[in-house]
């Protein structure tokens, strides 16, 4: 409260300008007629047209969506079980190991995760014959593994905050452990699981490094295609793509906000 006067508002404004100026310019120049991304050549939507005709980009987007959906779902299942195990079961052999394995991916550099998983897949293929080559499956496994860690963290904190007497009450009223999980625990932590799933989905959709290592021919994800394009310099159809993503995110956030507000009213 005490850094009064102009200092804080000015710094805060500059901070938000810093955060949003690049995004705004990205959107503005996606409507630029000129190929030069930074010189205004009149309003045009031609880059959106080119984007929609870009088969490589479209199929990569489709691959990314599939990967993100599958790996987020898998990560949510693994993460929920891991979180439940860690919060609800008293000591068991290997608890420390499990704790380590769910927290380590959070601090693991992507390059290491990517490389080590690739080497695992190659070794497994040599020894077991599975997975045959690399592609969608290996990317899904890789993404599910590191996303599971994030889901675990979210689910764990919700499970810890949850009033355990709810579960005890259900037990007291005659429900078995499995029944309690599905009747009480799961509904209570569902909002956390949804946000965990969304986070995993976003992380998967966003990942370039891990996917570059473990993906194979025909399974290029959207970030991989964008990266190879961007490396060669700026191109306006990437701006168009960015604008589309921003619009989708804005709509999704608005809907989520409205849903959340309705949820609050319900309780």
């Amino acid at each position: 409260m005490n850094l009064r006067g102009y200092f804080l508002p000015v710094v805060a404004t500059l901070g938000f300008v810093f955060l949003y100026a690049p995004i705004v310019s990205l959107v503005v120049f996606s409507f630029n007629e000129s190929r030069l991304v930074t010189v205004w050549g009149g309003f045009s939507t031609r880059w959106y047209g080119e984007l929609l005709r870009d088969g490589q980009m479209l199929s990569a987007a489709w691959v990314s969506l599939k990967v993100a959906t599958l790996s987020a779902t898998l990560a949510t299942v693994i993460g929920t079980l891991a979180a439940f195990t860690l919060t609800r079961f008293a000591r068991f052999r290997g608890k420390l190991l499990l704790t380590g394995m769910v927290t380590a991916p959070l601090v693991m550099p992507e390059v290491i995760t990517g490389l080590s998983l690739l080497l695992l897949f190659v070794t497994m293929e040599n020894m077991l014959g599975w997975p045959a080559g690399r592609g969608l499956t290996t990317v899904v496994i890789a993404h599910a593994t590191f996303c599971a860690a994030y889901v675990t963290v979210i689910a764990q904190s919700r499970l810890r905050d949850m009033d355990e007497s709810l579960e005890e009450a259900a037990r007291d009223l005659g429900a078995g452990p499995v029944r309690v999980f599905f009747d009480i625990t799961l509904p209570v932590i569902t909002p956390a699981l949804i946000s965990g799933w969304l986070l995993a989905f976003t992380l998967s959709l966003d990942d370039l490094v891990v996917a570059s290592f473990v993906s194979g021919p025909g399974a290029s994800t959207l970030p991989m295609v964008i990266f190879s394009k961007v490396r060669l310099g700026v191109s306006p159809d990437v701006n168009a793509l960015a604008t589309i993503i921003i619009v989708i995110v804005a709509i999704a956030v608005t809907i989520a906000g409205l849903l959340l507000r309705r949820q609050h009213k319900k309780y």
């Binding site: 995004i23 290491i112 080497l119 969608l136 499956t137 961007v230 993503i245």
Partner: protein, 358 residues
Amino acid sequence: MSAPDAVPSASHAPLYRRLFLIAVVALALALRFDLLTLEAQTAGTLTLILWTTALALIALEASDALGISRRWLVIALPMLWLFVFFLVPFLVLGRISIAESMIARPPYSPLWERGSDGSLEIIASLDNYRFLLSDALYRNAYLSSFRVAAISTIFALLIGYPLAYYIARAPEPRRSILLLLVILPFWTSFLLRVYAWIGFLRRDGVINNILTWAGVIDEPLVMMQTDLAVYIGIVYTYLPFMILPLYANLVKLDGALLEAAGDLGASPMVTFLTITLPLSLPGIVAGSMLVFIPAIGEYVIPALLGGPDTLMIGRVLWDEFFASRDWPVASAVAIVMLVLVVLPIMWLQSVQNREVPK
């Protein structure tokens, strides 16, 4: 929220479960023998999910039949998954880091070879590590990664702290909106946000255009492909990770403490230095870790914004793997990174976690 009605009651569970198991296995077999026409990639993933489910259900049946506690089943799935896909890879990584690079598929020497006389010969050497030590490139890359990550973290803190403070002290409707504005960029593509800075920093980019137009500069500034660009990229990308823990800490700060300090004669600045700052230290540490950790292994930002001489260890590893195709050396680089960077950070975090629950 009402309980899901679809959950079978305990007495019916085995029947439902068996039917479900049969369906899962049937579907998996159908996929195996190409009775369903699906794209190969999708089919592969689906098969994986189906077999995992089937295994879990079979384990459930078996445990019920044998009277083993179901607890272990719940533990087993995450445990096995993470063991196979997280822990084992590091063993493989270690094993390949002591192999020799060779032109083959895969491009490294096997762990053992049968000699001409049928004897078993183990091929392992620390040559790759010796190579890392002897070549200044790698040492510099490690050092410069630390430097870049540390400097970026400090800048992120300097920018993030006032922002977090401002948001935490804002009145309620505005506070939520500002917080949302901080989180929002995170949901858009990271790659595209870095890309946006190329348009800003280029020779004919937005910044140079504005400065030239305003008459501040005659010659465009060189900003792309410099360390400065990398700092900007990292700070920009990871700023929300700095702000959120700081905000979470500062918003909990008890206003009465600040009033008490004021009441005892502390000026606003002294109150900030003696009360707010020390109390927000956990937030500062948490935020700094969240920026420093991804920054130190960063590949994309130095690759897109940095110059050819911006050495960062993530980039060196990437080039070693993709450009030189030297898998053993790349593995050795990764192992060293693991030991020098990841293990200390994990140790630090576990120490911190032990301190928190007072």
